[in-house]
């Protein structure tokens, strides 16, 4: 307690109010359960006799009394009471702070001022009831058992069930019936319990398999059951879940806010791609996605991966290939794989950021180059499809862009030389020459093979290739596929 009788009085008053409300609350709960007990007693009035109504009334009273006693007896922390007072009278936590700090040995002069201020404010208060009444769930249902008690009290006693059916048959017939019914139960009980776990269609399939099915699948083999049902072709629609999530996220955004500086700094192309992919796939099924947009996105991802030397360009290429082959779901899977890799790389870069002394862009000094007005270096340039940097131009010696385009532009860039090898089996030893020969391959085989096959088909269609060679070329590509 504090040194102010006024504050103490306020706290005592609120504490009493809390106790009263608690007593009401638990009293109603106690009365409800007492009434439920009373109903049980009155239901067995037949056995208990004329004392049953009195017992029921006593139960209700005892229940309510016990609840009230419990509510009154429960401890009310003074700090909690102080907080209630602060909230109820708009005292901005003055009472709670005063209560806590008034007795502390390290109280400062400011605490004295606080105590004086709180006392003055409390004295100016108009005291009112502040603790709200809380009606328990049982309170809303209390009328039901009480009414039931009243009805049962005035109603004649209900005879208790004896546990046997009334005797309608002569004794001999009864025994026969009993035997017959028990034998029928024995016959039917086992299959019935089993049937409950299966749908009728599965049951029929099960019988069919038993009758003439293949020996590979057994009766309990569920995979065999599912193999040729319509369920096999169904896929979970996760996009609808993603869409719901997007809607919730949009609530977080403000339209009229200024751009957040930190997030602007850390925004990069990966996140742009991520956003685009989310926008593309949000709430749609694979067959509803625009192939053109998906292709553009995959191309962008592939280019981004190629530029940063990342490992997702192969996935993006695979996705493009799948899209060409009319498999949008496979393309989406590939895109998701690429996104996962992209995200993992970004997370890894950010994890090591502090140790390496700044962001990637700072370390490479590109910001300084731009500030000096040098413009972006060739490494920074973003290339369109097939617009790679030609070898020997610019400061970077790293060739970029599509390999086919580069080769077409400069046939001396990469060459193949070879010499015949004699032995048990004749053959050729070949070497790559030129700039390309000294560099590791930047294109993944699976990623480009689709493009090459398409180029081959185009060439054949446009009759750039002699007709006699068509089959030979096709069989070559077929052999590659088989390998």
């Amino acid at each position: 307690m504090t040194e102010s009788p006024r504050i103490d009085g306020l706290l005592r008053r609120i504490r009493g109010e809390v106790r009263r409300r608690r007593a009401e609350y638990y009293g109603v709960r106690g009365a409800f359960w007492g009434a439920v007990g009373g109903v049980a007693v009155l239901l067995s009035k037949h056995g208990i006799g004329s004392a049953a109504p009195w017992i029921a009334v006593a139960l209700v009273i005892v229940g309510a009394g016990a609840g009230i006693a419990y509510g009154l007896a429960r401890r009310v922390a003074l700090a909690d009471v102080a907080r209630v007072a602060d909230r109820a009278f708009g005292l901005d936590d003055r009472v709670a702070t005063t209560l806590e700090w008034a007795e502390r040995p390290d109280r400062t002069r400011l605490v004295d001022s606080l105590v004086a201020d709180t006392i003055a404010r409390v004295e100016a208060l108009e005291i009112k009831r502040v603790v709200r009444r809380v009606v328990p769930r049982e309170g809303r249902l209390l009328a039901a058992p009480v009414l039931a008690c009243l009805l049962l009290a005035v109603a004649p006693p209900i005879p208790l069930p004896s546990g046997r059916l009334p005797d309608f048959l002569p004794s001999g017939e009864e025994e026969r019936e009993e035997r017959a019914s028990s034998s029928m139960l024995e016959e039917t009980s086992r299959p019935l319990t089993k049937d409950q776990t299966k749908r009728s269609s599965f049951e029929e399939r099960d019988f069919a398999q038993r009758a003439g099915g293949s020996g590979a699948s057994t009766t309990g083999d569920l995979s065999a059951i599912f193999k040729d049902t319509s369920l096999a072709s169904q896929r979970p629609d996760f996009n609808s879940f993603m869409k719901k999530g997007d809607e919730r996220l949009r609530m977080l955004e403000q339209v009229d806010r200024l751009p957040d500086l930190q997030s602007d700094f850390t925004n990069n192309q990966y996140k742009m791609v991520y956003r685009k992919s989310k926008a593309l796939t949000g709430g749609l099924r694979p067959d509803q996605i625009s192939p053109q947009k998906l292709r553009e996105l995959l191309e962008e991802m592939e280019r981004l991966g190629r530029k940063g030397g990342a490992n997702w360009s192969g996935d993006a290429m695979e996705g493009m290939e799948a899209l060409e082959g009319g498999q949008p779901d496979r393309a989406l899977d590939a895109m998701q794989k690429a996104l996962d890799k992209m995200r993992a790389m970004d997370e890894a870069q950010r994890s090591g950021k502090g140790l390496r002394g700044g962001r990637e862009s700072d370390r490479s000094g590109r910001g300084r180059d731009r500030a000096r007005g040098d413009g972006a270096g060739p490494e920074d340039q973003d290339f369109g499809e097939g617009e790679g940097l030609m070898p020997g131009r610019g400061r970077s010696g790293t060739p970029k862009g599509e390999a086919t385009q580069r080769l077409r532009a400069n046939p001396y860039d990469v060459g193949v030389e070879g010499e015949s090898r004699r032995g048990r089996k004749d053959g050729y030893d070949t070497n790559l020459t030129g700039r390309g020969g000294s560099m590791a391959s930047r294109l993944q085989y699976l990623g480009v093979i689709g493009q090459y096959r398409k180029a081959m088909e185009d060439a054949i269609t446009r009759e750039q290739v002699p007709r006699d060679f068509h089959d030979q070329i096709r069989s070559y590509f077929q052999a590659l596929d088989e390998r």
Binding site: D93, E100, R343
Partner: protein, 337 residues
């Protein structure tokens, strides 16, 4: 009401400073209040907003209304740490003997305006770190104390990102508050036009001196805080950590790193100044709520999803606060809510 004389003096000084700044600056009342709170709490403040909103003018006006030394550094990419801290130069005395003499840099001032702080390199930005945290700088192995009170007000703008160096998290954490300067409303814009194009600029008087600021800083630390209010502040800070078992869903989903203990200190100190500025002797839950956004918005680092989805940290802090409040209320008995 019985008022402590020191509190009276503080409230008067606070109001006088605000009035002086408002003679020049139209609107931005909340920003001005938070800058003053930051100064009296003994912290440093970062102001962010597009060019032309009066960030620099606000700080200059504040320095003019305080009897304190002021220096301004315009951060540029070629600015070096020695340009901020100072350097040892060789001087020759009357006997012709040469010795090193320390040439003080602009950091040796009470109020330092670091204009467009994100335009300098991280190396130069970090030259401010020691000064901001310790109130001293080390040059040539010797530690030199900075004048007290020492108050850094930095500005940065979120556009023209070319050639800028984002402040690293460690540097950001040194700032007590990060304030966002918004566009003025149309009435405020009209007042700006009238005030700046018709009459002569208003004269600002010096209303508070350095020793007064220092004594107010001590007074602020005396402000009592109830344990449940302190618990509420720490719950908010903890709720920004996605790893915390009671962290709300929004933090788990979008936050990579939550606020540091410095964030909790900033929250409580800011709340104490706010309480005292309102003539109150204790910190209330409302003070904590009012200070949560400026104290925590720059201390929360979003994860990949958060950045990709463009989550606003102000919104995030508001959501975390709501969740924390609801959870605190839930944990109490219905009669005591």
């Amino acid at each position: 009401m019985n008022r402590d004389a020191r509190v009276e003096a503080f409230v008067a000084a606070f109001e006088a400073l605000r009035a002086e700044v408002e003679k020049v600056i139209v609107g931005h009342r909340e920003v001005i209040t938070h800058v003053l709170i930051g100064m009296f709490a003994g912290g440093h403040v970062l102001l962010e907003g597009v060019p032309g909103l009066g960030k620099t003018l606000l700080i200059k006006t504040l320095s003019e209304s305080l009897e304190l030394s002021f220096s301004r550094i315009q951060f540029t990419p070629d600015l070096m740490p020695a340009d901020i801290i100072g350097t040892n130069i060789i001087v020759e005395d009357a006997d012709g003997r040469k010795h090193f003499q320390f040439q003080h840099g602009p950091i040796f001032a009470h109020i330092l305006l670091a204009d467009e702080i994100n335009r300098a390199t991280p190396k130069t930005q970090s030259a401010l770190l020691e000064g901001m945290q310790e109130g001293a700088v080390t040059v040539g192995g010797a530690s030199r104390p900075l004048p007290a009170p020492f108050f850094v007000l930095a500005t940065q703008n979120p556009i023209e990102m070319e050639g800028t160096y984002p402040l690293p998290e460690a540097q950001l954490d040194r700032f007590l508050f990060k304030l966002r300067v918004r566009y003025p409303a149309i009435e405020e814009l009209n007042a700006i036009i009238d005030r700046t194009t018709q009459s002569r600029p208003a004269a600002v008087s010096r209303v508070v001196n350095g020793p007064a600021v220092m004594s107010f800083r001590e007074l602020i630390r005396e402000v009592p805080i109830a344990s449940h209010v302190r618990d509420f502040a720490s719950s908010i800070v903890m709720a920004t950590h996605p790893q915390w078992e009671k962290a709300p869903e929004v933090a788990r989903r979008f936050v990579r790193y939550g606020a540091s203990p410095r964030g909790a200190q900033a929250l409580v100190l800011g709340a104490k100044v706010r309480a005292l500025a309102e003539g109150r002797y204790n910190v209330s839950v409302e003070d904590i709520k009012a200070m949560a956004t400026p104290a925590l918005r720059h201390r929360i680092i979003l994860n990949f999803e958060g950045e990709a989805e463009g989550i606003d940290t102000d919104n995030l802090v508001a959501r975390i606060m709501e969740n924390t409040e609801a959870a605190t209320a839930q944990s109490r008995e219905p009669f005591l809510r």
